[in-house]
């Protein structure tokens, strides 16, 4: 985009945020007096930021502690999503048989909400007793987050130029060598687009999953404050979830672009 004035990339987003704060302040002073003003929210929640690693009790901890629990959970779910999604995407892109068998099923499963998957997960993992809900959360994250990886990988496989496959044929590469030396590098940029979107969804799902498990994390903290009728921590959590999601997306964006250059 065109540069409007020096430091516009810094100043203008601040203007946007200030506008939002103003609306928030206006609302809390007029029609929604139960919602604390920005300043009151900060006053009430600064303890979580100023002591980010404090652990007063299971559900009363510093912000970085909560974020860490949630990130670890997201990382596990995302890792499983990639582990399942990449081979599934390759099969979908390579085999017309596999595609015809499973495409419809995937299209049907894809729009199902995490709130619907979770109870199924809890039922599936009942044998794990006290860990059942934790596994149900991972299951929910994995099932919801894997689709962008599956679909982007499949698109990437179908987009491999015939030229590259001809080189593999002419040089008599084995099936494994073709996969490893030709197809995988060609699909990598597509896969990373899928990974970025999958990670975004995994982070989106974490709040819902944690609300239902109650295990410590940013989502369960939010849920607890909601049940207690504390509004300031809810707003605070929303901001933290947004910022962390933004940072994750930036990181993945950098990684993705590194692979785009080939």
């Amino acid at each position: 985009m065109k540069k409007l004035f020096p430091f516009d990339w810094l100043v203008l987003p601040m203007v946007g945020i200030a506008c939002a704060m103003l609306v928030w302040y206006g609302l809390s002073k007029t029609i929604t007096p139960k919602v604390p003003t920005p300043l009151a929210t900060w006053e009430e929640c600064k303890v979580y930021v100023l002591e980010p690693f404090a652990k007063r009790s299971e559900l009363d901890q510093g912000v970085l502690n909560f974020t860490r629990y949630s990130l670890v959970r997201v990382a596990k779910g995302f890792f499983l999503a990639v582990l399942i999604g990449v081979p599934t995407g390759f099969l979908l892109g390579m085999s017309p048989w596999f595609f015809k068998c499973f495409d419809l099923l995937f299209q049907i499963l894809r729009p199902v909400s995490p709130l619907a998957w979770f109870p199924l997960g809890a039922a599936l993992f009942t044998t794990f007793k006290q860990d059942a809900l934790e596994y149900a959360a991972l299951f929910t994250i994995t099932v919801c987050a894997m689709w962008p990886t599956v679909l982007n990988t499949a698109v990437g496989v179908r987009a491999i130029p015939q030229d590259y496959l001809n080189v593999a044929k002419v040089l008599k590469l084995s099936a494994f060598q073709t996969l490893w030396k030709v197809m995988l590098p060609a699909v990598l940029p597509y896969m990373f687009t899928g990974f970025r979107l999958s990670l975004g969804i995994a982070w989106l799902v974490i709040v819902a999953a944690e609300m239902l498990t109650g295990n410590p994390g940013i989502g369960s903290f939010l849920n607890q404050e909601y049940l207690a009728g504390h509004y300031a921590p809810i707003i605070f959590c929303i901001i933290i979830i947004g910022v962390v999601g933004f940072i994750l997306d930036r990181i993945m964006n950098v990684v993705e672009r590194r692979f785009k250059t080939i």
């Binding site: 030229d163 002419v170 040089l171 008599k172």
Partner: protein
């Protein structure tokens, strides 16, 4: 030197009709060619007549409907490391450097050599095409001409029995084209493998070939005429352009293609410029005299 080293007998390629009913679409109908070991053949014909079709079948990337092809006594089925191929676009893997692209070919072609031997071999061919200073560059950092040099090095490094080239210089400007023709001929003169090259450029066809094979127009294309090129090797482009024999030969090829063109006046495909006798290309060619 074995005669009939490469022999193509009764080659037919047809496709099922597009509508699903009716006669099959016969592209190539009875292509017979016998090539001696170490002979350089160029294949010319109007656009769409089936030159690439024949070459892709020789490469094993496409299968013939009928006909038998033997190379050095073996019947060809599918692709093989006994054939090196240079496509019109270089077809390099963009995530590998020039060296790694050639190495991929050497690793496959010489699996029982030591690693160091294979590296030296790849480097040797990269130097032969004049890329010794760019071996560690990725294709994106190379010019179109340099990429095609890598393609040539990759094909020669296999040390194949048969070299197949499908308009390898088609995408290059005329100066680079003349330069690469020379590079190709220089390496070929050292290795002397049998070669079949498709081209649109009549001058190129004469300059490179021992025999020029002309295909009739498709559909149902076959060989129309085969013209031996008598010039001794090594050839000099400058001398060739001063000899009357060259122009006589050129006239004959152009005449053949012209006649075909009139026989089949309405052709949907655009005409290859090199086949047009009025083309000023030849007149500008003396520029290249010092390159040969």
């Amino acid at each position: 030197m074995t005669s009939n080293y490469l022999s193509i007998n009764g080659l037919i390629k047809s496709y099922p009709p597009a509508t699903g009913k009716g006669d099959r679409l016969v592209i190539v109908d009875g292509f017979d060619l016998h090539v001696d070991e170490g002979e350089f053949i160029t294949l010319i014909g109007h656009s769409g007549c089936g030159k690439s079709t024949v070459l892709m079948i020789l490469a094993g990337l496409s299968t013939q409907t009928e006909g038998v092809i033997t190379l050095g006594g073996n019947t060809l089925t599918g692709p093989g490391l006994d054939r090196g191929i240079v496509f019109q676009s270089p077809c390099l893997l963009p995530w590998l450097t020039a060296f790694e692209n050639v190495m991929l070919s050497v690793d496959q072609g010489k699996p029982d050599w030591k690693k160091a031997e294979r590296r030296d071999h790849a480097m040797k061919y990269l130097s032969l095409v004049g890329l010794q200073d760019a071996v560690h560059k990725k294709p994106a950092e190379l010019s179109q001409g340099m990429r095609q040099r890598v393609g040539i090095a990759r094909a020669f490094a296999l040390q194949p029995k048969l070299l197949l080239l499908d308009e390898p210089f088609g995408m290059l400007d005329s100066l680079t084209r003349i330069e690469l023709q020379q590079v190709l001929l220089d390496i070929w003169t050292q290795e002397r493998m049998t070669a079949v090259m498709v081209t649109h450029d009549i001058d190129e066809a004469i300059f490179m070939a021992d025999r020029v094979v002309m295909m009739t127009n498709g559909p149902r294309a076959k060989i129309g005429d085969i013209v031996p090129v008598p010039f001794a090797r090594p050839r000099s482009r400058g001398e060739l352009l001063e000899s009357n024999e060259f122009y006589a030969l050129r006239e004959r090829l152009v005449g053949f293609l012209e006649e075909l063109h009139h026989d089949h006046a309405p052709k949907p495909e655009p005409e290859p410029t090199a086949a047009t006798p009025a083309s000023p290309k030849l007149v500008t060619a003396p520029l290249s005299g010092n390159l040969s």
